[in-house]
């Protein structure tokens, strides 16, 4: 491989690209330098937060011991706490955050709107409905709840798509329809809880807030498989996403099969959100904010998928740390923390968009 700077514009400040080419020129990669750097820094930050989460708890373990245990050189007592009690939760936080960040980046790219995120258009509410039906009506638990959440998420997305579809989907219409469906399903969720038995309703309510406590290897497997299956798909279609950002007509002119690319991206994005919600419940705000925050840091026009995923992982891990530590005696659900930060963020975002719109 030979490396060459972007020949067309040496030393430019914006969106510098690293170009890698094989000697024959048959293979070439073009990587946005800043996005790579930001992604790497965010991943490191997420990993560092995860290690802090592993070391802290009712029984504090020095970071050095945690790292030794992670590479398989810890003593049995530490190993038990780290591997069995804390690692699944830390991994769920990282992976769910990454899945939500990637899902949000794709959604916002497709809708060309910072509000176009799976939690805002009702996919997570739909997942909750699915989970509640399993918990309250079918007396299910564990993996069944997760399956219910995925089914709810997918059915909701299909419903929104069909409702918003009229000779080609318009992004804004999709979002408005999503907000409407979301409100409807919220009502259904409330009804299900009010009608449920008290103990079941309580379990349902805990699930509804979105928490990472008590997550085990089952949940880790769910998100890990989701990511392994769908992240390559959205990354492959990431270049299509860039073209779709130029509008359907221009994308078509340049050889993108618009409807197909959009369908693949939307399905993969829904899948990522569904897998994440199935594992951790409806975690608010991460899918909404991670892509936007990452885009600010990378200074790139569209939400980059990998930086958004890394940002999501860091955000959720950080939120989980705050959820465990801010109130010393209370392990509050991470969903409460993300929702609290998310409310502030959303207010700021809407105020800014409103000012810009005037």
């Amino acid at each position: 491989m030979i490396t060459e700077p972007d020949a067309a514009a040496p030393g430019r400040a914006r969106a510098r690209q690293i170009v890698l080419r094989s000697p024959g020129g048959a293979l070439s990669l073009r990587l946005p330098a800043r996005a790579l750097l930001v992604g790497a820094v965010l991943l490191l930050a997420a990993a560092a937060i995860a290690v802090v989460n592993l070391s802290s708890g009712d029984f504090p373990i020095p970071v050095g011991d945690v790292l030794r245990s992670l590479v398989g050189q810890g003593d049995p007592g530490t190993d038990f706490i780290v591997h069995e009690l804390r690692l699944p939760r830390a991994l769920v936080a990282l992976l769910v955050g990454a899945a939500l960040g990637a899902s949000g980046a794709v959604f916002q790219g497709l809708t060309r709107n910072p509000l176009g995120s799976p939690d805002f258009v009702g996919l997570t509410v739909g997942a909750a409905t699915g989970a509640l039906v399993v918990i309250l009506l079918l007396d299910g638990s564990g993996g069944q709840v997760a399956a219910g959440a995925i089914a709810g998420c997918v059915l909701t997305s299909i419903a929104i798509y069909l409702l918003a579809f009229r000779g080609g989907t318009q992004p804004f219409r999709l979002i408005l329809m999503g907000v409407g469906v979301s409100a409807l399903l919220e009502a259904v969720n409330s009804y299900l809880i009010v009608k449920g038995r008290l103990d079941e309703a309580l379990a349902a309510q805990v699930w509804l807030i979105g928490s990472l406590s008590g997550r085990g290897w089952t949940e880790v497997t769910i998100v890990a498989l989701t990511l392994a299956a769908l992240l390559p798909v959205v990354l492959h279609y990431g270049r299509h996403l860039n073209m779709l950002a130029l509008g359907d007509d221009t994308a078509t002119l340049h050889g993108v099969r618009v409807e197909r690319s959009r369908a693949v991206l939307a399905l993969a994005s829904v899948g990522l959100a569904a897998g994440a919600t199935a594992a951790a419940g409806p975690i608010a705000f991460v899918a909404l904010a991670a892509p936007q925050l990452a885009a600010r840091l990378t200074r790139s026009p569209g939400p980059g998928i990998l930086p958004a995923a890394a940002m999501g992982a860091a955000l959720l891990s950080g939120s989980d740390w705050a959820a465990q530590r801010v109130l010393p005696d209370n392990d509050i659900p991470a969903g409460v923390v993300t929702a609290a930060i998310g409310g502030l963020y959303l207010t700021w975002l809407l105020a800014r968009e409103w000012r810009r719109g005037r």
Partner: protein, 277 residues
């Protein structure tokens, strides 16, 4: 006449509003075809259907003898490019990054930026004179600069057939002629160029082939000298005029009649105009 790009029996419509019926056209290979006609006569609509951006309700557009809708989209994108009229500009994208996206059809997952890609982008930006804008944000540019950037995007695609929907809008006189000269050069290099223009005199100067449209129909097609007459201008635009010889180029030049004479011409029985747009 060989025509790689042609259309037969097109019915063109937006939802239910039909713009044209039974429309057929052949774009001669190596021609510089200019489509003219009054506002809303279907010029842009025809161009969009030729570029497969607008699906005809009936009829077929053919590229190299095959229905264009049946060909792989990427394969078409290597043969046929188009400058659309008002494309979407994503916020915060730099000029060079936008032009680079014009290479999409030539790229693969593991061939993201070949030497050809870099050269094509560099050349497209040079001939449209946007090289010095490379680092600027597209949404901060003037209308004229933006138009030239989008032209660079279409040129970076390096297609033998290039369609341009009103390439001179937003441009001052100097830049209008620069863009038209550029089109003429592309045409001389062997490309087939199809442009929608409003200025009849520019159309006559640059076109090898003139397509005159009115109310969704092609009323005349041929060399400007053979086609452009005062009767045609009267019939198509409802404007009385005199057609002279352009002293610079020898091509037809349309000089609209004086205001008072034009008014009498208008009040005189104008060829019946259907109410539909």
């Amino acid at each position: 006449m060989r025509a790689r790009l042609r259309a037969e029996n097109l019915t063109l419509a937006y939802d239910r509003r039909v713009v044209a019926r039974n429309l057929g056209v052949e774009i001669a290979d190596g021609s510089f075809t200019v489509i003219v006609g009054p506002n809303a006569c279907g010029k842009s609509t025809l161009l969009k259907s030729l570029a497969r951006v607008l699906k005809p309700q009936a009829g077929t557009v053919y590229l190299d003898g095959a229905a264009i809708a049946s060909l792989p989209s990427r394969q078409v994108a290597k043969q046929l490019g188009m400058l659309p009229q008002s494309p979407v500009v994503p916020a915060g994208i730099a000029v060079e990054d936008l032009v680079a996206r014009g290479r999409f059809a030539h790229q693969r997952l593991l061939r993201q930026w070949s030497a050809d890609d870099a050269a094509a982008v560099r050349e497209a930006m040079a001939v449209t004179e946007v090289s010095e804008l490379a680092d600027r944000f597209v949404d901060e540019l003037s209308g004229g600069q933006r138009q030239r950037v989008w032209l660079a995007v279409a040129l970076a695609q390096q297609t033998p057939i290039l369609l341009l929907d009103e390439p001179t809008t937003f441009l001052d006189l100097a830049h209008q002629f620069e863009v038209l000269d550029l089109c003429a050069e592309l045409h001389e290099q062997g490309r087939t160029v199809v442009a929608v223009l409003h200025d009849l005199n520019q159309a006559c100067r640059y076109a090898t082939d003139l397509v005159v449209m009115r109310c969704g129909e092609i009323v005349a097609q041929g060399a400007p000298a053979a086609v452009m007459t005062a009767e045609l201008v009267e019939h198509v635009f409802g404007v009385a005029s005199q057609v002279m010889t352009d002293p610079q180029t020898g091509t037809p030049m349309v000089v609209p009649a004086d205001r008072h004479r034009r008014r009498t011409a208008r009040t005189a029985p104008v060829p019946a105009q259907p109410a539909a747009r």
